[in-house]
Amino acid sequence: MPRDFTPKVVTANALIEGDVVYLTRDDQWTRHMSEAELITDEAESQLRLLMAQAQTETVVGVYLAEAKAGANGPEPVHFREAFRRTGPSNYRHGKQAELTDV
């Protein structure tokens, strides 16, 4: 039995704007968590992470964040990732001001 693996998404910050991005199934970076690839296999997650970390000209601070499947794609598990997906709570700045699906 493989041990339980919490699904992950690969996330980072965009190099120029600094805003939060997620890796998609077709190796693109998206601003929408819902479009991210939800990785359910641990070995696969490590491979995807290495691939993403090599893209130092596009993104910084790449890591794996826990996520779960939602009706419209991956959703955050931890509140930190929920804030990263949305933006700060004191102003309507960041993603919540720019995106429609959060």
């Binding site: 600094g18 598990v77 509140f79 930190r80 804030f83 990263r84 709570s89 004191n90 102003y91 700045h93």
Partner: protein, 557 residues
């Protein structure tokens, strides 16, 4: 006011030119992030939760109107129209884009400002009493010596790779408004036998292992000050733990070796290096001092003030709460609250910055200060101008009469912005301020300092808050720990933990129970929260917080 010398300006211009090229090389892929990160940090550029963050130093918290206007310009041109003033007298921009940062730094250099040594293991921005040069109780203006230290420490070759960051604060009065006892070095200007010198306090600091600084030397003369400071920093530079970043600050070195051992080592080192200081620093100090000469205060009637004070209750409430005693007759120190009820502590919009700059220029001898309590100060305003100043502030949401009261909360950015945070701070501050405003209780409560940090690093000074709140992550949920009885002044003490923490929903009612307990127990309206706590201790507050019967009694009120 001190102006940059040509040397300073050339140094900053050169650093900006280098950084512009470094950014270009990063964008072209010639530099990896690992190579670039230390370079951007040296220029105050962090990567935070949602974006980059640029931290700009405001040395000893002093600005002129031109500089404040430029800060407003940066906010409008390259950020989202506001800036955040921090507990270390810096301003932070939360949304800069990497490719714009070199332009932002150039714009800052136009007004003699920069972001150098606002990060990294260096000597950071030297902070000072925000009433410097104005306070009635001041022995001497702490800013000339702060400026001397800034020049000595900037790009000091021995101190660019210290075991950890190093923070210095200076106060010129016995009343400590600069939190000197929570700094790596705190300096207090003192007078002995007609001579002015410095009490050197060392090893204070908050964060994971909070410590109140200890007196290393009761009196260091002006002649000996720089070599003495250099001796302190270099003793720590050698001794400080580089193997463990949680043990690297000087507070741990002092704790592990004992203050007497450190004192002896500093003396040895001092005797060795003292002869290499030939007096250039003293000549420089004299020069700096003249640049901080007080403005020409005018003598004028205060009748206008007296009339407004008598007839306008809103003005009177503001004057009673937000003014402080000035050393010149007829003058007052104006504290502008950046804590409107429900606003983000320490944030000012570009428009508000411009209003404050205009007021400083017209009515305040062109001076502004940023306080570690995240407010703005007009240090020199003649009382006859106060009704006009108040009216202008009011129009722009800057006349909240709450300085030193329960809604004048220090809050770090917390998890709304900070990548290191374990919980949010800002919404907690907003909730508390709104609640006590609704209750119309804050003037009744009187002096009460709440300080909130979003993680153990304690940028929000929670350990020294009368009520401290620390946001933590407990199993994936925000949880808030409370401490009581902290004090950031000359009678500094660390707060005591009440017990288990509270969820985000429970924290506001918990604070309310604490405050009601204080109101029940104080022996008169003159006894402050801190005095009451020191008299009655933790038990009644614990009962109110954790004893169900007590909790329900208040819930039913």
């Amino acid at each position: 006011m001190y102006d940059y010398t040509e040397f300073d300006a050339a140094f900053v211009a050169e650093r900006n030119r280098q950084f512009r090229q470094q950014v270009e090389r990063r964008l072209s892929g010639a530099l990896t992030e690992d190579e670039f990160k230390p370079l951007r940090l040296m220029n105050g550029l962090y990567l935070q939760l949602h974006a980059y963050m640029l931290r700009v130093a405001i040395p000893y918290g002093t600005l002129n109107s031109r500089q404040m206007r430029q800060l407003a310009y940066l906010a409008l041109r390259w950020d989202k129209g506001y800036g955040h003033f921090t507990t270390r007298q810096n301003i932070q921009y939360n949304w800069p884009k990497l490719r714009d940062v070199p332009d932002m730094l150039d714009a800052l250099a136009e007004v003699g400002m920069h972001a150098i040594q606002t990060s990294g293991n260096t000597i950071r921005n030297v902070t000072a009493d925000h009433f410097a040069g104005a306070a009635a109780d001041e022995i001497a203006d702490p800013r000339p010596v702060a400026e001397l230290i800034r020049q000595w420490s900037t790009d000091h070759p021995e101190f660019q790779f210290l075991p950890r960051k190093f923070k210095i604060a200076v106060t010129g009065a016995a009343a400590d408004r600069a939190v000197t006892r929570a700094h790596d070095i705190g300096l207090q200007i003192v007078r002995r036998d007609g001579q002015t010198g410095y009490r050197v306090i060392v090893g204070g600091g908050l964060g994971r292992t909070p410590m109140i600084g200890k007196v290393l030397n009761d009196f260091v003369t002006q002649d000996d000050l720089l070599p003495y400071l250099e001796a302190v920093v270099s003793v720590w530079n050698l001794l400080g733990r580089r193997d463990n970043k949680y043990k690297s600050r000087i507070k741990i070195t002092v704790h592990e070796h004992g203050i007497d051992d450190i004192r002896a080592r500093v003396e040895d080192r001092f005797n060795l290096i003292r002869p290499t200081f030939t007096g250039v620093d003293l000549a420089l100090f004299e020069q700096i001092k003249s640049a901080f000469a007080p403005p020409a205060f005018r003598t004028d009637s205060t009748a206008v003030f007296d009339t407004s004070y008598r007839t306008d209750p809103i003005f009177r409430s503001w004057a009673d709460t937000n003014l402080a005693a000035h050393r010149a007759p007829g003058y007052a120190i104006v504290q502008i609250s950046l804590k409107a009820h429900g606003a983000t502590p320490g944030d000012a919009t570009a428009e508000q910055m411009r209003v404050m700059a205009d007021l400083a220029e017209r009515y305040g001898h062109d001076e502004l200060r940023i306080s570690h309590e995240q407010n703005v100060i007009l240090p020199h305003v003649h009382k006859s101008d106060l009704p006009t100043v108040h009216a202008a502030l009011k129009k722009h949401g800057l006349a909240t009469a709450n300085i030193g009261l329960i809604s004048d909360i220090i809050a770090c950015p917390g998890m709304d912005y900070c990548a290191l945070a374990t919980a949010r701070s800002i919404p907690i501050a907003q909730d508390i301020a709104r609640r006590f405003d609704d209750l119309k209780l804050e003037h009744e409560i009187g002096e009460l300092k709440i300080k909130i940090s979003g993680c153990i690093n304690a940028c929000g000074h929670h350990h020294v808050g009368h009520i401290g709140i620390l946001g933590l992550d407990r199993a994936g949920v925000e949880n808030y720990q409370i401490t009581l009885g902290g004090d950031h002044t000359e009678t500094a003490s660390l707060g005591d933990r009440t017990g288990p923490g509270f969820s985000a929903d429970e924290i506001l009612p918990a604070i309310e129970r604490i405050v009601r307990t204080y109101l029940d127990y104080r022996d008169s309206p003159d006894e402050t929260f801190l005095q009451t706590y020191r008299r009655i201790g933790m038990e009644p507050f614990k009962t109110a917080l954790y004893d169900n019967a007590g909790a329900n009694a208040y819930a039913a009120q």
